[in-house]
């Protein structure tokens, strides 16, 4: 059974249809990339899956449960975590607190007002572990708003993966980074999503072809192709939609 199932999902804002009849199955453990030109509806699709928007029609299932139109926190509690295209952290809280907050629900603390965080050893050690993984151990006590951009992006990833979610959705995780920063970020993404299911939106084709097991191409709110990277490259409709945007050097590996 698929981990995530989209069944004829549509989304309209007013009379404008942004997502049109999208159906997609993501298998557990798969690394799936969604590509497409600007304005194709990639971020909207993310928002629909993660609960920020309600669907206009269609259904979304996660681990056999219907999740569409649930509030984001209900979906997050079921094991679906995401990052954002624009850095979306808790800027006035320390880097450590950012990660610890991201761990709270999955560690079972719920809305507790009778437990002191300083005394929760396992929780604090887990938070430090995540910091270690994302390479921000030495910045633990810094207000996260003061981090450099690439570090904020790493923290953004950390918040998404901290909860141990099975399905991780990354929205343009390396956008705005220099080449070397992007390289580090890709290595980080590989490391922290190991053994997990990943859906990501990304514009950098090298990274997409590097990481993804399968690729979906979204154009004007419709998925025109879902296939392996190899087949996507040779797909005539995709090439037409992109008009040669698929870099030629990516074809040859």
């Amino acid at each position: 059974m698929s981990l995530l199932t989209l069944d004829s999902v549509c989304k309209s804002f007013g009379s404008t249809r942004i997502i049109n009849d999208v159906s997609l199955d993501i298998e557990a453990g798969e690394k799936h990339a969604i590509i497409g030109p600007n304005g194709a509806g990639k971020s909207t699709l993310f928002h629909l899956i993660s609960g920020r928007y309600n669907v206009s029609s269609g259904a979304i299932g996660f681990k056999g449960e219907v999740i569409h139109n649930l509030p984001p926190y209900e979906i997050a509690r079921r094991g679906l975590a995401r990052s954002f295209q624009v850095t979306n952290i808790f800027p006035r809280m320390s880097v450590f607190e950012n990660i610890r907050c991201a761990l709270l629900w999955s560690e079972g603390y719920r809305y507790s007002f009778w437990q002191l965080l300083g005394r929760q050893r396992t929780l604090n050690e887990k938070a430090l572990d995540v910091l270690e993984q994302i390479g921000l151990s030495d910045k633990a006590q810094l207000p996260s708003g003061e981090l450099a951009y690439a570090q904020q992006r790493a923290l953004e990833l950390g918040i998404a993966v901290a909860s141990g979610a099975e399905l991780i959705m990354l929205d343009e995780p390396v956008a705005g980074m220099s080449n070397s920063e992007a390289e580090n970020a890709v290595a980080l993404i590989r490391r922290i999503t190991e053994g997990k299911t990943l859906i990501m939106v990304e514009h950098d084709m090298n990274i997409v072809f590097d990481i993804a097991d399968r690729i979906s191409v979204l154009v004007y709110g419709e998925i025109i192709a879902t296939d392996t990277p190899q087949n996507i490259r040779s797909n005539a409709r995709v090439q037409e939609a992109y008009l040669g945007e698929v870099p030629s050097d990516a074809k040859g590996d």
Binding site: Y73, A76, I89, F90, C101, S106
Partner: protein, 411 residues
């Protein structure tokens, strides 16, 4: 928590010994007001500073707690219940909590401007009903009680203000401790997260509404405790104690003290209580000075007085705090001259025929010379501040640059 033990011990000791230092009738009376306002302001900051909820109606929970507490005092006096009045703040707290659960159940659905408007509306609603339900609220006259009827507490009958002070100090310590501990719990920390970024909080599994609701209830509880202390201290409460003016006052306290720091509202409550009690003896214009102080704080010290103190942390770490003393002094002297002249001008403008004593001078509103002297002093003061500011700015920059031997440190 262990690291802060000295701070809490110091706090407890200060509470014990303060009435020995300020032992006049006025001193004790001001201390009693402070215990009430500190709890109230801290509870307000659970909403605004820690939870990002701007409320214009927090006095509702303070006032309802206070009204019920006065009624409880009367029930004790009528021997309907027999319990020590030392427990009255719990009555206030329970009422504040119940009111907050009821009102918060719908007001915390929203945040930002909508939440602020709802709080304003609820505040007006309660004030209006206070005039309708005259039995409970006593109409415009309010309700009075007597704290001395209850069974004595280890021989204490609370006839004297000093005895009331120690009762207030006990509740202040307990309430402050619990409000601080709340910030260290998952619910308290998530309140910060929801304040910082409500959207992201939802994506890590938390309902922002529920997080806000919990903070709101806790704030109502502690506001009610403060209301209970108010009832014991004044034995009298009116509609004024739950209206928008009181809500505004606690907002000012939290803001002037500094929203971003736990001790901020304590500082703000102390400053405003002092101004309220002392300044009002000297000038009818004290509300004007309060307003100006609020404006200046908002513009120049957006993080409040506590924030101003904390600004010096880096200079302290660089061991360069000393370099600031002289520049501060050089700027402060003309600033004080300007302040004195400004106050003189304000006072002179509403004195009429009375003589205004001003540092040995006798000024009069009729005399052009009086106006001239004050205007000249104000000008000199302002010029002095302007001239000394570059030096202060340079000293500030220097104090905040790491010293040479610190640069090698691993940060």
């Amino acid at each position: 928590m262990k690291k802060q033990l000295p701070v809490w011990l110091g706090f407890a000791l200060a509470l014990v010994f303060l009435p020995s230092i300020f032992d006049s009738v006025l001193g004790i009376s001001i201390l009693n007001q402070m215990t009430i306002w500190i709890i109230f302001a801290l509870s307000y900051n659970m909403l605004l500073g820690q939870g990002g909820m701007l409320s214009f109606g927090h006095a509702v929970y303070f006032g309802l707690g206070g009204f019920m507490s006065v009624h409880a005092l009367n029930l004790i006096a009528d021997e309907v219940f027999v319990f020590s009045i030392t427990l009255i703040p719990l009555v206030g707290g329970a009422v504040g909590l119940v009111a907050a659960i009821f009102i918060g159940s719908f007001s915390t659905r929203k945040s930002g401007t909508v939440f602020a408007m709802i709080s304003l509306g609820i505040g007006e609603l309660i004030v209006a009903s206070s005039l309708i339900f005259a039995d409970f609220f006593g109409g415009e006259a309010g309700v009075t009680g007597d704290r001395t009827y209850g069974p004595p507490f280890f021989g204490i009958e609370f006839l004297q203000d000093a005895e009331v002070y120690y009762l207030g100090a006990f509740w202040l310590f307990v309430a402050t401790l619990f409000m601080y501990l709340f910030t260290q719990t998952p619910a308290g920390r998530m309140a910060n997260a929801v304040r910082d970024n409500p959207e992201r909080a939802e994506f890590i599994g938390y309902s922002t509404r529920r997080v806000r609701f919990i903070s709101f209830c806790a704030a109502g509880l502690f506001a009610g405790i403060a209301g209970g202390l108010f009832a014991i201290n004044y034995e009298f409460i009116t509609e004024e104690n739950l209206n928008a003016l009181t809500s505004g006052r606690v907002l000012l306290m939290a803001y002037i003290g500094g929203l971003g720091f736990f001790i901020g509202p304590i500082v703000g409550a102390v400053i405003l209580t002092l101004m309220n009690s002392l300044l009002s003896n000297y000038s009818e214009m004290w509300m004007l000075y309060l307003g100006i102080m609020f404006l200046l704080t908002v513009i120049f010290l957006p993080r409040g007085f506590a924030g101003f103190i904390m600004m010096h942390q880096i200079a302290w770490q660089n061991r360069r705090l000393g370099t600031l003393i002289l520049p501060y002094f050089v700027t402060a002297v003309p600033a004080l001259v300007f302040l004195a002249a400004f106050v003189g001008l304000v006072e002179l403008s509403h004195k009429g025929d009375d003589i205004l004593p001003f540092f040995g001078l006798s000024l009069g509103a009729e005399s052009m010379l009086s106006w001239g002297i004050l205007l000249a002093l104000a000008g000199i003061g302002a010029l002095g501040v302007k001239l000394s500011r570059p030096r202060l700015a340079a000293a500030w920059a220097l104090a905040n640059t790491p010293t040479a031997d610190d640069r090698g440190d691993v940060r």
